[in-house]
Amino acid sequence: MSWIVRMIVVLPALAALAGLLARRQRLLAAGIAIGTSAYVAVLAFIQWVAPARTADIESIGHLSTGSLQVPLHLLSDRLSGLVALVVAVVVLAIQVFTAWYLRDDPRYGQFAATVSLFASGMLLLVQASDLVLILVGWEIMGWCSWLLIGHDSERPEARRAAYKAFVVTRVADIGMVVGLVALAVRAGSTDLITVLTASGHDTALTVGLVGVIIGVAGKSGLIPFHDWLPDAMEGPTPASALIHAATMVAAGSYVIARLFSLYASHDGARTLLAVLASATMVYAALLAFAQTDLKRMLAYSTLSQIAIMLSALAAAPRDIGFAPAMSHLVGHAFFKALLFLGAGWLSVLAGATALAALRGRLHGRGALRWSMALGLAALAGVPPLIGFFTKDTVIDAALEGATSGGGARAWLVVIALFVTVVLTAAYCARAWLLLDTPLATTEPRAGTDDLAMSAHPTTAVHPTTTEPVAEEEIAVVTAADTADDAEVERVHAHGHAPITLAAALSVAVLAATTVFGTLLLTSLSGAIHVGLFTALLSVLLVVGAAYAVWTLSDRGRRDVADRVPGHVRDAAVRGFGADTAYVGVGRAVTAVARLVVALDRDVVDAYPRATVVAARGLGQAGERSHRGVPSLSLLALLAGVVVIAVLGVTAWR
């Protein structure tokens, strides 16, 4: 059993190495990537069907680090089995899809290898029974995300987006590292079980839990760290699918789930989590509604959905535990992967990802159309799709928490959840209407409108665009247009290559999982727990929202978001200037850095230079005084004699 667990982690890493070596031969690289991920999926399936509940699988052996215990064990239980399986499946689908999507990209090999490495990082985190291993997986994913997002490094937007993503998450990781260190210190060991069972030392506990929340907020894009995620759409669509669906972004909730028993006993930390999560889910859903670009809309929806998972962890009572959050993680993994791959497929067909350019493109494309329909429906939470069950499980758990003395924290979450349900349904409906309603020839204006609308931000380039890049890594590119460029370039590269069967199949499989994926969740106790009341309520809300959108957009002939006032919408498209705020921070740090350099040159280094000058000065003074005037030397002589005579006589005894 344990070798399976190890293999699941090690194989993708080896695949990454092999793929890197074989990056020149496309077919070989693709074979390695797909083959390995398929094999890993099989292994994960075995682990899932026959999970051995063990938490002491040797990985690389116990580290001898003096007083600190670092066993570096792996674990295997139902949760890890489930998540590992989901991750493996999603990764497999993505690898298959990528093989077609990036067929003509000279860097396909590197990309596939990076995806494998990324997968191994996530799988390591999933199966880690040791804080250090969790951190390792965590950071590896961050690094790979930098590589993936910056894949098209010709485009400054991609470079910048990648840089932004890594730096923002890394800043948040300050909290993660400090938190994990604090927890490890508290337990005197980094072993997960020991950490969970350790007792006392409340300050360390608080620091640890809050720190981890900060770290999670970074990677999972909670406010205020959320803004890197939409920009991450600069990456190729499969990368977005990977990052958003099952891995990096969702990893945070998995980590907190692992530490749930600690959080359950600590109200302060959970309150913080609840506030962040609630704010983020609503805010992100609102922004998603206003987006003019499909991928960015999906990105904001991801933010909102992840916040939902975290809110479950923040509100669920101890006895229910983390199951609801994890089930939503699984569900979200499936439908979000589906949506992204579908979006990628669609963008290849349309040569763009701007909603305006995609209008009606779904019409009459059977498989793709149904897949997107299923995906959006699952996202919106339409029964009997997986999204419906998982979301309602979360709501139900939150209600449980609220009624069983969760107090304001839980109620906040519940309210936020219901609001989010409405908003989610609304933007899903909008997206569907835009994508599916064919452009009526009667009114061409709408289309041009949207084109103008989507094109508008392009013109409004941020002043800092002209910043020297070598100075600050801040060359702000506006949101909506650039992903477009990416697709355009890609399509030129592709020349409308017809999708391969395998790629289409991978999309279809994911579509199927949105329907039957619920069955997987039965393996996790309490993963599906839908109360009648909440179910009815949410269904009603969903339907109502969808109907409202349908009417407001008079049967989908116009973009309902146009009803939002223009300037508000622009601001929303730009994420309400969050990016500007980041730039401001970057500026501040750079200013400090300049100050430091100036100090280094003019103050710290001044002393050595001053010494040299002083030495020369003294020397010259001496030189002048020694210009052969014996009488002076004689005076010095007398002085010397007297001085040392006095000294000698006095200091003799």
């Binding site: 020694h626 052969g628 009488s631 004689l634 007398l638």
Partner: protein, 130 residues
């Protein structure tokens, strides 16, 4: 036995005068005289100390003789140098002797070969070859 202090005091006086002479005078000869005064102070001290009972081998007077002898040698050399100085600079004002190394250093240092006629130009000619 107090009387033996008087020579000591006298010696101190002599030494002081001598030091003053060395410091205050610029003329070479006067400086030499100053040095002589110090030496004589020392001699007086030696003789006095030597005259105490129990001092072996009449060390006081003997040492005094030593000192006088060495002083003679010193003065000989001194006068020789002063003579050369006079021939070179035309004065025996010691404090006026500048540090002459700033003049163009004549070509390769000539081992120990002297220039018995220390007129510079001659000397220069002598040095330039080799």
């Amino acid at each position: 036995m107090i009387h033996l202090q008087l020579p000591a005091v006298l010696a101190a006086l002599l030494a002081g005068i001598g030091v003053y002479g060395v410091l205050a005078r610029r003329n070479a000869v006067l400086i030499l005289i100053g040095v002589e005064l110090i030496l004589n102070a020392a001699n007086l001290l030696l003789v006095t100390a030597g005259s105490r009972p129990g001092v072996p081998f009449a060390a006081g007077p003997v040492l005094t003789l030593f000192v006088i002898t060495i002083a003679a040698a010193e003065i000989t050399v001194a006068l020789a140098v002063v003579l050369v100085l006079f021939r070179t600079t035309g004065a025996i004002d010691l404090t006026a002797v500048p540090d002459l190394t700033d003049e163009p250093e004549p070509a390769p240092a000539p081992g120990l070969e002297p220039a018995p006629h220390p007129a510079p130009e001659l000397d220069l000619r002598g040095e330039v070859r080799s």
